[in-house]
């Protein structure tokens, strides 16, 4: 057997960059065609969907692949969001001399935003390293508590920051280092330039494409399979020679990195308020809902769930009191009936659609049969209980 031909560096470069190029083209289309044609309102909803996808897919890496239940995703989001907001706000004033939007598409202002998001992601990843360390010792629900505690600590720390956002002359007068603490405290970080709005969704979709690509490649790579092995059985994975600690911590860091980027985008989307209380426990739960509904370990599932969870409440505004009730019920019902989430590990194109179709077609018949057989089953259960009582007495 001949080994497969190894591609040259040019082939490797093309092979690894073409999805990214298609992704950039996709973001470009979203910016210049879709955002204009669907109108401002739905374009804004689209931004929310994009950010939800970034958060959901990134949580899926640690929650779905590695099976480590994290309840602190909003904490990472906050780290990235505040870092990016501070860099963009203070950086704009220091570098460009204005706190308004500076430069057009791909201009210096937007590049600063992109860099700030990445720096925010890196800081969030470092925080993820800190949170990942306890996962050396803890599993399952204890880990969930620790991540929850970390998220709360991050929130409280941000709340303690100086609540004065310095004005432009003050910032120009101040040293770089003194600005670190001025994050707006409990009132939130407000007043920065909002580079992302209904007309400018470009960067959201760029990062959506990147996070989906990374998650996809990770899933089918050696490392991704290591994570899946850790998820299925940690002891067995360790016995197979997987360094479980390293795998788990790197999953945490990757996940936190993208959560940080998602936070950075969230901070710069017009209409969002970067307040510590918005990025608390509830936000983490919202992201968990996306992952669980989509399927633990399915990227396309998380994307679909993010779209559904964001879009449906917009479509049914008059029922907004019942929105969270419906989510909660959906969460419980999915866990009871389909513990692996709607899609499980499968991607959209891996699903056996004929089987799904067959199940859907036969569903009414099965339901009728189930309901019709209920009296018989109830009678059988009662009879069994009576028999048991009889046995007890004798």
């Amino acid at each position: 057997m001949r080994p497969p031909p190894t591609p040259g560096w040019l082939g490797a470069l093309v092979r690894s960059t073409w999805p990214l190029l298609i992704g950039l083209a996709f973001a470009f289309v979203m910016q210049n065609v879709v955002a204009l044609s669907i109108g401002d309102y739905y374009s804004k909803v689209g931004n929310a969907i994009g950010i939800a996808i970034i958060l959901g897919v990134s949580l899926g890496i640690v929650n779905g692949y590695a099976g480590q239940f994290s309840l602190g995703h909003a904490g990472f989001m906050a780290v990235g969001g505040y870092t990016a907001a501070a860099i963009v706000y203070y950086g704009s004033i220091k570098l460009f001399g204005t706190k308004a939007i500076y430069g057009g598409a791909l201009g210096p202002g937007e590049l600063l935003l992109c860099a700030a998001c990445i720096v925010g992601g890196v800081l969030a990843a470092l925080t993820g390293w800190l949170v990942g360390l306890p996962s050396l010792r803890l599993r399952g629900d204890y880990l969930a508590i620790v991540t929850l505690g970390f998220g709360e600590i991050i929130r409280v720390l941000i709340k303690q920051s100086d609540d004065v956002i310095l004005s432009q002359p003050q910032v120009e007068a101040a040293d770089w280092w003194t600005l670190v603490d001025n994050l707006g405290g409990g009132f939130g970080f407000i007043g920065g330039p909002r580079y992302i709005d209904a007309r400018n969704p470009f960067w959201v979709w760029v990062f959506v494409v990147i996070v989906c690509l990374v998650a996809y490649r990770l899933k089918y790579s050696n490392r991704g399979r290591q994570l899946l092995a850790v998820r299925e059985n940690e002891i067995a994975a360790e016995a197979m020679g997987i360094r479980t600690t390293k795998a788990k911590v790197s999953a945490f860091m990757t996940s936190a990195f993208f959560a940080g980027i998602g936070g950075g985008l969230y901070a710069h989307e017009l209409g969002n308020s970067l307040r510590p209380n918005e990025l608390g426990f509830q936000k983490s739960i919202d992201i968990v809902i996306i992952v669980v509904l989509g399927g633990m370990g399915s990227i396309s599932g998380a994307v679909i769930a993010a779209i559904g969870v964001t879009l449906l409440p917009e479509l049914f505004r008059e029922f907004k009191d019942y929105r969270m009730i419906a989510y909660a019920l959906a969460l419980v019902i999915v866990m009871v009936l389909r513990p692996q989430g709607l899609m499980g590990l499968k991607e959209l194109w891996e699903v056996d659609w004929r089987d799904v179709g067959r199940r859907i077609v036969t569903a009414p018949g099965r339901l009728v049969r189930w309901v019709a057989s209920a009296p018989t089953r109830a009678r059988a259960a009662l009879k069994a209980a009576a028999d048991r009582r009889q046995e007890d007495r004798s």
């Binding site: 600590i153 019942y322 959906a330």
Partner: protein, 306 residues
């Protein structure tokens, strides 16, 4: 001195509340090995049920009869016990053999469900309400020029009575023996003729009743009860849960010890160190504890077998 006594009083009342909630967490964890995230919502519901009962029975004014408080307390505990029973039966029992993560997610789902059902106009609504003062807030006696109101005394006394009763129940009765047997090994307990399902249901009911008692006392002490999804409730529940973990989850005495510890850290930390950072201390203690002694102060570390 005055400040110290004041802080001590606060610690006692807050610690009693935490203990009442933490016991529910710890009981359920001890038996089923999972964190009942919906537990703090039962506490919230307890406060709201008490409010609803008090207004429905016309005891909203200050001149309510002496028996008003005990009656409302018992009723709220009974209704919440029924709620706990329903939660266990509908949401958790189908998942008894499922992986722990799934049960955890279900618990979060139940918690969200309760929080949001409680906000509907048909149930409790979204506006904060003022709990009618069923116990007088008049000072009962004075220690070091700190006036100690009857509410605080009643709160601490009731908490102590309930904790002692629970201790007796778990360690001195047949039911308690059955509970401990189920927590040791569910299958063997079933083989010994213990009705496992019934014991689990009862555990949930006891936990819910204790939480409801805590909720009623909270309402009487702090007067204002916020909407069910309010961040304040969530944080309170989380801290009680932290108390259960720090004390050693699954251990009744540990929950009480943890509650005292967390309450004192919170109150004295806020009083003497920084008024802004008590939450930071609480969660910091949690993380340090989990890192160095994951089983908690009084818990036994379980050895994981292959």
């Amino acid at each position: 001195m005055t400040k110290f006594v004041q802080l001590l009083l606060q610690t006692l009342t807050l610690g009693s509340l935490y203990a009442l909630i933490a016991l529910g967490y710890t009981l359920v964890y001890g038996i089923l090995r999972f964190i009942n995230f919906a537990h703090s919502d039962v506490f919230t519901f307890g406060a709201w049920i008490a409010f609803t009962l008090a207004t429905a029975l016309g005891w909203a004014a200050t001149d309510s009869p002496v028996f008003a408080m005990p009656v409302i307390m018992v009723l709220a505990m009974a209704i919440s016990a029924a709620l706990g029973f329903g939660i266990e039966r509908l949401a958790y029992r189908p998942l008894r053999r499922a992986p722990r993560l799934n049960v955890l997610i279900t618990a979060i789902g139940v918690s969200l469900f309760l929080q949001n059902v409680g906000q509907l106009p048909a149930t409790f609504g979204k506006d904060p309400k003022v709990m009618p003062p069923l116990i007088s807030a008049e000072p009962l006696f004075t220690v070091a020029s700190v006036r100690i109101p009857l509410v605080d005394v009643a709160l601490v006394a009731l908490a102590v009575i309930l904790v002692v009763a629970l201790q007796w129940l778990v360690y001195r009765t047949k039911l308690g023996q059955a509970m401990r047997a189920v927590s040791w090994n569910e299958q063997y307990a079933a083989l010994m003729g213990i009705p496992v399902d019934w014991v689990v249901s009862l555990t949930f009911m006891i936990g819910a009743a204790l939480a409801a008692a805590g909720g009623v006392l909270y309402g009487l002490k702090y007067h204002q009860i916020n909407q069910t999804a309010d961040a304040l409730w969530v944080l309170l529940g989380l801290k009680a849960f932290v108390a259960a973990v720090v004390g050693g989850i699954g251990n009744v005495r540990g929950a009480v010890l943890g509650a005292g510890l967390i309450a004192s850290i919170e109150v004295f930390g806020a009083g003497y160190v920084s008024s802004k950072l008590p939450d930071l201390f609480v969660f910091g203690v949690l993380i340090v504890m989990l890192l160095f002694r994951p089983a908690g102060l009084l818990g036994n570390a379980a050895v994981e077998k292959v």
